[in-house]
């Protein structure tokens, strides 16, 4: 079973993300089920993360109290190996670029997102078939950091996430 942690201050976003994740065929995940836990409060999500390991964290950027970068750095302390993803409609490119580099994001997805792309990103980050789920945590940490992406802006100003490992 794969555990995904969702954090967004907007409950309707959480519902939509759940629906989107529910559309992932278990066949793509080596028959493993997806278990989604969703929080509108980053603080509560962190509390939960103290007792539960996750395989992927998806967070909003702008949230009251604690923003996505703060949340993900706290998450990095708790569970260094977990791949981190931001899903945000925040229009400030500089902030996003800073964020991606600061918390070593695996993916940035803009709002509005395309369901298929989000689902594909989630599947890719969970890396079924790599026997990752059974590997010891230390190895997973390495695997996760090997995927760390760099962010640049292309000529159109679009944000490009580059994976360091040869695709």
């Amino acid at each position: 079973m794969y555990r995904i942690l969702l954090v967004d201050d907007e409950p309707n976003i959480l519902s939509a993300l759940r629906r989107c994740l529910a559309s992932i065929d278990v066949g793509e995940l080596d028959g493993e089920a997806l278990k989604v836990e969703a929080f509108t409060s980053p603080e509560q999500a962190l509390e939960r993360s103290e007792e539960q390991d996750f395989d992927l964290v998806v967070s909003d950027y702008r949230m009251p109290g604690m923003d996505g970068v703060e949340f993900l750095s706290a998450m990095m302390e708790l569970q260094p190996a977990v791949p981190r993803m931001i899903c945000s409609g925040y229009a400030d490119r500089d902030a996003i670029i800073a964020a991606v580099n600061e918390v070593q994001l695996a993916r940035f997805i803009g709002k509005p997102w395309v369901d298929e792309e989000l689902a594909a990103a989630v599947v890719a980050l969970l890396r079924p078939g790599s026997a990752r789920a059974r590997a010891p945590k230390a190895l997973r940490a390495q695997a996760a950091s090997a995927r760390i992406t760099r962010v640049e802006q292309d000529d159109d100003g679009a944000i490009v996430l580059r994976s360091d490992d040869p695709a």
Partner: protein, 428 residues
């Protein structure tokens, strides 16, 4: 006793007295003449007497200074003829007019060499059959000062007109800048609902194709004469129960998202309208506060809790979108004054013929030395690039235009209160 009277008597009268009187009178007249001469000698205005041939009969010291001034190169020659002083000093037209009317005054401009000139105020009067009196006052300084004043004044008028234009532009561009500042936030605010509505539509599409395949399966099963157990297994296989349960939820959430986008766009339109004079209307201040709060909610919600205490307000005659700008500036300042988490209070009430809007925050407050300057244009304590210092200056202008007042009070470390008072009806 005679001294005082004689002082008032014209020289002519004095000389007439001298002619007709015996010796004692003549002595008195001589004394009188000496006194008058001393008086005229002491006058700082050039004063002279000349006859019909322009022969100078008398010139006081100031006149002699003038003569040298008029003709510096003739300083060593006797200036017995006033016409020799300067060709433009005494023109024949003036003399002629004076002979006809008894007096003449006017300004003359004399070139005095090296591109310099003097402006003189001349007064001519006929004081005897062929005797003329003349006083000359140098008004070069005065008239230079005057024309300088005129020039300065004209400059000031131009500058003022420019400033007025500039102020309008600044107001417009400040409005645009604050809208620009908001745009990023608003984009975020709109991207959220669009995000889930969009995603929900994809989900709905999947649900519908699931439903279609359910219908096909049912049809196939029915054609094969299937019973309730087979129908049940189709239901379960396609998870129709979940689908049927989720669709109403999905639709209502999506509708909520569309409503939110509509509302944001409507508020923005309210906000950004350019005001014309016929836009003075009786408006609901609470509506303005609410729509402004909605717009900047995105900026504030991460830091502040808003406590609204709205009283009963009558409609207020105002320019609503300009007032919204005031509310926005003040609310943004309140939000910016709060470092981590705080409370912003918005309280309305009626005070006599006016309505009162109090906007308070429990942020960092304003030090006493800063307090008197917060309404100054371009005064800001915020880092370069994040504040232009125009927010309160512009708000002040808008409130004054409404014949209202805006006041600030603050306790450093505890918070700040902005009190805006507006007349319910504008004075006619």
């Amino acid at each position: 006793m005679s001294t005082a009277i004689a002082l008032h008597a014209p020289i002519e009268a004095a000389s007439r007295a001298a002619r007709s009187a015996p010796a004692a009178d003549a002595a008195r007249a001589d004394a009188m003449e000496a006194t008058l001469r001393a008086l005229v000698d002491a006058v700082p205005t050039a004063t002279l007497l000349f006859d019909a041939d322009q022969q100078v009969r008398y010139a006081n010291p100031a006149a002699r200074v003038l003569a040298r001034l008029c003709a510096p190169d003739k300083a060593d020659r006797p200036l017995a003829v006033v016409g020799d002083w300067h060709p433009e000093l005494l023109n024949s037209g003036a003399l002629h007019l004076c002979s006809m009317h008894g007096s003449w005054s006017g300004e003359v401009i004399l070139g005095v060499g090296r591109g310099q000139h003097k402006i003189l105020l001349l007064h001519l009067s006929r004081v005897g059959a062929d005797l003329f009196g003349m006083t000359v006052r140098d008004i070069t300084q005065d008239s230079m000062r005057e024309s300088e004043l005129h020039a300065r004044n004209a400059e000031l008028e131009v500058a003022y007109a420019k400033l007025q234009g500039a102020q309008e532009q600044v107001m417009q561009s400040e409005k645009l800048a604050s809208i620009g500042q908001l745009a990023a936030g608003v984009a975020h605010e709109i991207n959220n609902p669009i995000g889930y509505v969009n995603s929900n539509l994809s989900t709905l599409q999947r649900y519908i194709s699931q439903l279609f395949s359910a219908i096909q399966s049912y049809e196939a099963a029915l054609a094969g004469g299937a019973g309730a157990t087979e129908a049940e297994s189709i239901r379960r296989k396609l998870d129709l129960d979940f689908l049927v349960g989720d669709v109403p939820q999905l639709l209502s959430e999506s509708r909520e998202g569309i409503d939110r986008v509509c509302k944001i766009v409507r508020d923005l339109k309210d906000f950004a309208r350019k005001e014309r004079s016929e836009d003075w209307i009786k408006a609901d201040i609470h509506r303005g506060l609410d729509s402004t709060l909605n717009i900047i909610w995105n900026e504030l919600k991460y830091k502040a809790q808003i406590v609204k205490t709205f009283g009963e307000l009558p409609p207020v005659e105002c320019l609503p979108s300009e007032l919204n700008q005031v509310f926005m500036n003040v609310l943004m300042n309140a939000g910016q004054a709060i470092r981590d988490q705080g409370i912003i209070t918005v309280t309305t009430s009626v005070a006599g013929e006016r309505v009162r809007v109090d906007i308070g925050d429990d942020g960092e407050g304003i030090p006493p030395d800063v307090l008197p300057r917060v309404f100054d244009p371009f005064f800001t304590t915020k880092p370069v690039g994040s504040g232009t210092g125009l927010g309160l200056a512009i708000s002040y202008g808008i409130v004054s235009k409404h014949h209202g007042t805006i006041e600030v009070s603050s306790t450093p470390g505890q918070g700040t209160l902005l009190r805006i008072e507006l007349p319910i009806a504008q004075p006619r």
